[in-house]
Symmetry: C2
Subunit: 461 residues, 2 copies
Amino acid sequence: MEDVLAYLEGRKDASLADLLAFASIPSVSTDPERRGDVRRAAEWLAGRLRTAGLSTVDILETPGHPVVYAEWLGAPDAPTVLVYGHYDVQPPDPLDRWQSPPFTPTVRGERVHGRGVSDDKGPLLIPVQVAEAFFQTRGTLPLNVKFLFEGEEEVGSPNLAPFVRAQAGRLRADVVLSADGGMWRADVPTLTVSSRGLAGLELTLRGPGKDLHSGRHGGAVQNPLHALASLLAGLHDERGRVTVDGFYDDVQELSDDERASLRALPFDEEAYRAEVGAPALFGEAGSSALERLWTHPTLEVNGMWGGYTGEGSKTVLPSEAHAKITCRLVANQDPERVTEAVVRHLETHLPPGVTLDVRPSDHGARAYRIPADHPALLAARKVLTQVYGQPPLEVGMGGSIPICEVFQRELGLETVFFSFAVGDEDIHAPNEFFRIPRLYEGQRAWARLWQELAVREVAPV
Amino acid sequence: MEDVLAYLEGRKDASLADLLAFASIPSVSTDPERRGDVRRAAEWLAGRLRTAGLSTVDILETPGHPVVYAEWLGAPDAPTVLVYGHYDVQPPDPLDRWQSPPFTPTVRGERVHGRGVSDDKGPLLIPVQVAEAFFQTRGTLPLNVKFLFEGEEEVGSPNLAPFVRAQAGRLRADVVLSADGGMWRADVPTLTVSSRGLAGLELTLRGPGKDLHSGRHGGAVQNPLHALASLLAGLHDERGRVTVDGFYDDVQELSDDERASLRALPFDEEAYRAEVGAPALFGEAGSSALERLWTHPTLEVNGMWGGYTGEGSKTVLPSEAHAKITCRLVANQDPERVTEAVVRHLETHLPPGVTLDVRPSDHGARAYRIPADHPALLAARKVLTQVYGQPPLEVGMGGSIPICEVFQRELGLETVFFSFAVGDEDIHAPNEFFRIPRLYEGQRAWARLWQELAVREVAPV
């Protein structure tokens, strides 16, 4: 192991330079105008895999953005790992809130700032650099590796499931190691063992056939903004519990054991409140913030707009009002059933004087949990203990990694989250950053993990 | 009279060409980037007043956009009228809903389409063209005329009151004739005898200190969009009545006579509904749409926004949420008192987990009503009967013309609305238009009105 670790130690500047180059490509998958940039990121990544020593590297087309695939299968007696990550990033807006341009990655102290550095370009590069270190020092990897890097994670991976299904033969492996996911916090190593699912929709309310003058017409017709406020307000009770009929039907109460182990985790709600900068925490009475974050479903309005939103005032009674909603799901909740329940609620609670148009997202995901005794999870725990000098905490995740369900369903594989991003790194927000020391810690951990897995019995589910 | 009317009849094309030139200047007073265009419109208008024959024409500075002023005082034994209008216009957005560019005024059939053609550039040009007709045919006007055209009506005339106060000597007159206001409908002549007042504010709710990932943090903190929906939803009950404590305190119930005369007006609610294109009318139970529009106060959300509003999806739990609100007021309501009541409501109903920042508009206006026996109103009624062959209906107005209160307070003058715009001409909306025949009808009516007022006793209040 020392040869590989020494090689990585000697290449720190080059490793960081990799990330600066990669993160300067604005691969915003939600933005049709960035299509060319997304492809440019795919090509950069394919090139980087080749210089790392991978001989089989392909850019594989999908109906959307391409998949970057690479493999090395020179260890016939060792297991095969499928390494997952994504090279696309979130939109950077609001642009005016960035301290340095989002696509000019900028080092300040021990952090590099830029869109995508934490989610997921930094974590994704780590196993590529580790492969290079093995090739450069030993000419070989300790186990078989397949890299699958997609470009549509931030739009819900609409083409990943069909791709994986179509390529099931090529993707055959023993376990998925996800470079996406993120550690719970910066001060203790953690292993994420569960994530929430996802369902979403966009809605439009329509009132008058055109924008009206709010003086001349106000009082005679429904204002779609009032109707939207009323409709959205009715989705939660005053303690934040979702009021949608059937929303909690498939949600299982936590067992006393589960609740106790959540309570045992070191978590300071006041420190968390200060970290997110909210005047107070808020949520369903009788449950801790951690319990709500990891084990309760949510319904969140992600965007809401209508009427005049520019400088100054405009006395308009607008024709339309809009909202985007996503729900986070927990074990046993079905995205389609949840979406149907929300749509039914919107229809039955529609205020008078407007019509409703709902567009459910065509991608949803179930929640995920890896079996507690999975050998790859045990191996990951062992190497994190070696790297950090303390055993990792097992934690949940409020966000969603829909790919877990895809790999489970299409390939029969469990997924170990092995990302070195941290959950506080302002992903999906201005000034996203990645902790540079994590890049090097991640390299040592991935190198050890591959070595460890090479000698374990890892079987698909 | 025939000489003047014949002159106008022979100049129809030139009159329309005036409007096309004037309306091609994008004098959007709310938009700081249009400041130069607003001044260009003022200069164009000053030039047009000079070519009309006015010898005293000035562009008078204010802290904001300038006032265009002109006068002719050559009729010492006749009354003096102060003609009011505004040369600024509303913003044109949403731009993509215009069938022809907003600042390329376009004739389609008997209508000219463009931002500001109805509000207020077409109606404003009429008395200028009438002055020209008198000068060209008689070399004189039948009465003394002072023109006061402001450039800040669409931003609430913040500098008009101080301007009028400072220039009270120069502006002395017997009555105000407003070229702004608009007729109720296209099929019958109307005289507007009342308008609603105005009060407004903008509010921001702040939750987390930065935008958060809605998966990673949803459920633990208040979402400002949820809080905003709840706060705004609580401003009305389910029938549309404003729930703000004290909002209706100063509102007087209609007398039986007033209600009966409202009922006597020809007004087809279904035709109105179809005209505005709403699925249904909506408002307080037990009152007609007309009663609500003219005699009830309103609270309307004019704009509401927060979170991700672009293409695709972004799973954000935003740091802030925003709304713009205006209230329309009726007789006896004080804009400041109403604003205070709304602010108090927002403060006392603030959902947990967010902070509130309210910015009241610095301009408000009381409602207005002209005395039923005012001699200028009687004169206006007489000439409209001559021009249209039927007596005008006396109607209310849902919108606000704050200048009425300014002229009453600062100069002791009543205001007669004498505009030839019609309320259905999509002012403040895409595809604003003005009915070209109204330009010519308006010219005949203004010429007759001046002639009629010249021989009447018109005294200030």
